[in-house]
């Protein structure tokens, strides 16, 4: 019988297996050692692999990212954690200037096999700076790859792929989904970085999304199916590179695209999806790409987050709108 995994547990297992497979892999960040991480993703790893390979750091995000760069020069592979979305910002200079560019700066002589784990997105009634969607900052930065699992099994897969990748990969972990469960075998086989996943088939329209909000997208799609609207659902999972092929096919097959994310609308992923879909399949589009997103305001306090996050109603309304267009 297949085991049941939480996302936190599956990610923990991915780290454990990766540490087991590669003796030159290190895991470090704030509170990842003794306490096992605020979301328990690194639980037990220090006990198993020792404090030389899994260790707590001072509160120095830039220093952590910079140290990972130096470790890469010395032939070490690193998984670093930024404790929450907004706490990855102090490291942006190191990430943009060096993590993303060092391979290019050294003309391919020094790879940057660095995985940056960032618990991301909202929906946990967190305080300010704990509910942000930082993907645009990373996706716009050439030299990085950016992935977002939306389920435990895909979390295992994407984290293993990220760690194995010779290039730096930012893994945005949907913190609102850490405790959701999924049954199955953990494996790195399956869709790679750069590939999306079709979670529901359908030809009336395609809903494109990723991360925590995927769960709502699926609920909306199920409700719409009951209304007779067969919405295809695509989990992008790889925000950079994007799966152009899957987007183009969806646009060609359905002519109607709704993109859903939590990040503010302006220059959120929806903008890129809209622009690409237009480039790839303009002649097939029957309706403008609809963006169902967070608003262009700071992420609100807990008591208003439901008014900020795309709701099932907003998603469904957008689908009905493009279908009726």
């Amino acid at each position: 019988m297949a085991e049941s995994w939480t996302l936190s547990g599956a990610l923990n297992r991915a780290l454990l297996d990766a540490l087991d497979d590669d003796p030159r892999l290190l895991v470090f960040g704030q509170d990842v050692g003794r306490s096992g991480g605020v979301f328990r993703v690194t639980d037990g790893l220090q006990a198993k692999f020792g404090a030389e390979r899994v260790f707590d750091t001072p509160i120095s995000e830039a220093g952590i990212a910079g140290a990972a760069v130096g470790l890469a020069f010395a032939g070490w592979r690193s998984v670093i954690e930024m404790q929450f979305d907004a706490f990855s910002y102090p490291a942006l200079e190191q990430v943009i200037d060096h993590v993303a560019k060092m391979r290019e700066r050294t003309r391919g002589r020094v790879d940057m096999p660095i995985t940056i784990r960032i618990p991301s997105f909202g929906g946990i009634k967190g305080k300010e700076h704990h509910g942000e969607s930082p993907e645009t900052y990373y996706v716009h930065t050439a030299g990085l790859k950016v992935v977002v699992p939306s389920s435990p099994l895909d979390g295992y897969r994407l984290l293993r792929l990220a760690i194995a990748d010779p290039d730096p990969v930012v893994v945005l972990e949907p913190k609102a989904r850490y405790w959701g469960k999924e049954e199955g075998e953990l494996t790195a086989d399956g869709p790679g970085i750069g590939e999306g996943r079709m979670l529901r088939e359908g030809d009336s329209c395609a809903i494109v999304s990723y991360g925590s909000i995927m769960a709502r997208v699926l609920q909306a799609a199920d409700a719409l199916a009951a209304e007779g609207i067969a919405a295809r659902v695509i989990d992008l999972r790889s925000l950079s590179p994007l799966d152009d092929e899957m987007l183009a096919t969806a646009a060609r097959d359905t002519g109607r695209i709704v993109v859903v994310h939590e990040a503010p609308r302006t220059l959120g992923m929806g903008a890129e999806v809209a622009a690409r879909v237009m480039e790839l399949a303009f002649d097939f589009l029957e309706a403008p790409v609809e963006r169902v997103t967070g608003w262009d305001v700071p992420y609100p306090p807990a008591s208003l987050e439901e008014r900020y996050l795309p709701s099932i109603e907003r998603i469904s309304a957008a689908v009905r709108k493009v279908v009726a267009y």
Partner: protein, 354 residues
């Protein structure tokens, strides 16, 4: 034992030892009334802190970061400030906020998830917004102090921060700017032994107060569980700043008795014995014992404080529980002083119409 193992190195400035016996001159300029008031504030603050934890457990607050054990550090420093002074806090300075006159119910809106940063008016209370991104508020304090200096004002700006915060680049940049600009600022570090799970010894190999010398201003290490000592060093630092002599860095050694926050399980990273030991240098009995010995307080006073604390905690609870969710318009109301039209205004309609 006067200090837990993590207080190695340089002995801090201390007036009252852990058992309440003076080891220095207790005449710090606080009269009997002021001393009683300080004890009262500590008792009330601790009671409220525990109430907040209960409120969180009952679902009335989101994650709450308690400060039990840090009352002397917070109140001893806060009562050394004048009304013209300005505080930039972290997320753990509820006792400072109360001493500054911030309404507790207002303050707790933050933890209720009603609003961000400063539900109270930071200009009116001279207590800045609650600040979570570690060490960022220190730069705000230094900038604010520069503003005061340019205005020829007499106010001093105090930044509070923790031991873990001293590892951030922002601590350093702000401290260095404070030195270069010679601003009227006090950098007040509560070294409570931990940054979430990470003990101070893993945070830095140096002593925090010693950083000051590298920035060209004085640093001082004080027993943060000794209200008299904390008051004295803060008063001196504030006086220096007010006299135009520049900033001071204070490292107050204390101990976070509770969890980092209600979301934290300290059993994962420290033993109960350590926490038990910390209770033996609890700041409240320390001051109380001495005040009793001096004849400044008696059972009746302490009972009255406890009653006041209960009443205040309950009143605060009621206020917090009664706080409604804010209107959805607030999501858009404060983003810009001059809000854009166009797509932004349409988003607002889309959000609020629905």
């Amino acid at each position: 034992m006067q200090s837990p193992e993590h207080w190695g190195g340089t002995e801090p400035f201390r007036i009252l030892s852990a058992d309440g016996t003076p080891v220095g001159d207790p005449q710090v300029g606080l009269g009997a009334d002021a001393l009683r008031d300080a004890l009262r504030r500590m008792i009330v603050a601790r009671r409220l802190d525990r109430e907040c934890i209960a409120l969180q457990r009952q679902g009335e607050l989101t994650v709450y970061p308690g400060f039990e054990g840090q009352e002397a550090a917070q109140i001893g420093s806060a009562i050394a400030l004048g009304s013209e002074d300005f505080v930039f806090p972290t997320f753990r300075e509820l006792a400072v906020a109360m001493a500054r006159g911030v309404d507790a119910v207002q303050y707790l809106q933050y933890h209720r998830g009603t609003w961000h940063g400063g539900p109270y008016d930071p200009r009116a209370t001279r207590f800045g917004p609650i600040c979570i991104p570690i060490a960022t508020q220190i730069a705000h304090a230094v900038g604010h102090a520069l503003g005061t200096k340019l205005d020829g004002g007499s106010g001093v700006t105090v930044a509070y921060f923790g031991d873990g915060s001293t590892s951030e680049g922002d601590f350093h940049e702000a401290a260095n700017l404070a030195g270069v600009w010679q601003v009227p600022a006090v950098l007040f570090c509560q070294n409570n032994g931990f940054a979430i799970s990470v003990p101070t010894a893993q945070q830095t190999a140096g002593e925090i107060w010693r950083r000051a010398e590298g920035y060209g201003f004085p640093g001082v290490r004080v027993d943060g569980n000794d209200l008299l000592a904390v008051y004295a060093v803060t008063r001196d630092a504030v006086a220096r700043a007010r006299a135009g002599e520049g900033p001071t860095l204070i490292e107050a050694l204390t101990y976070r008795i509770g969890a980092h926050s209600t979301a934290d399980d300290p059993g994962r990273y420290r033993g109960d014995d350590e926490v038990e030991a910390a209770r033996s240098f609890d700041p409240i009995p320390r001051l109380e014992t001495w005040l009793r010995a001096e004849g400044h307080v008696d059972d009746a006073f302490v009972t009255a404080c406890a009653e006041e604390a209960d009443a205040f905690a309950l009143a605060t609870r009621e206020g917090v529980v009664a706080t409604p969710a804010p209107p959805a318009e607030w999501m858009f109301d404060w983003t810009y002083a001059e809000p854009p039209g166009g797509a932004w205004a349409r988003q607002r309609e889309e959000a609020l119409g629905g």
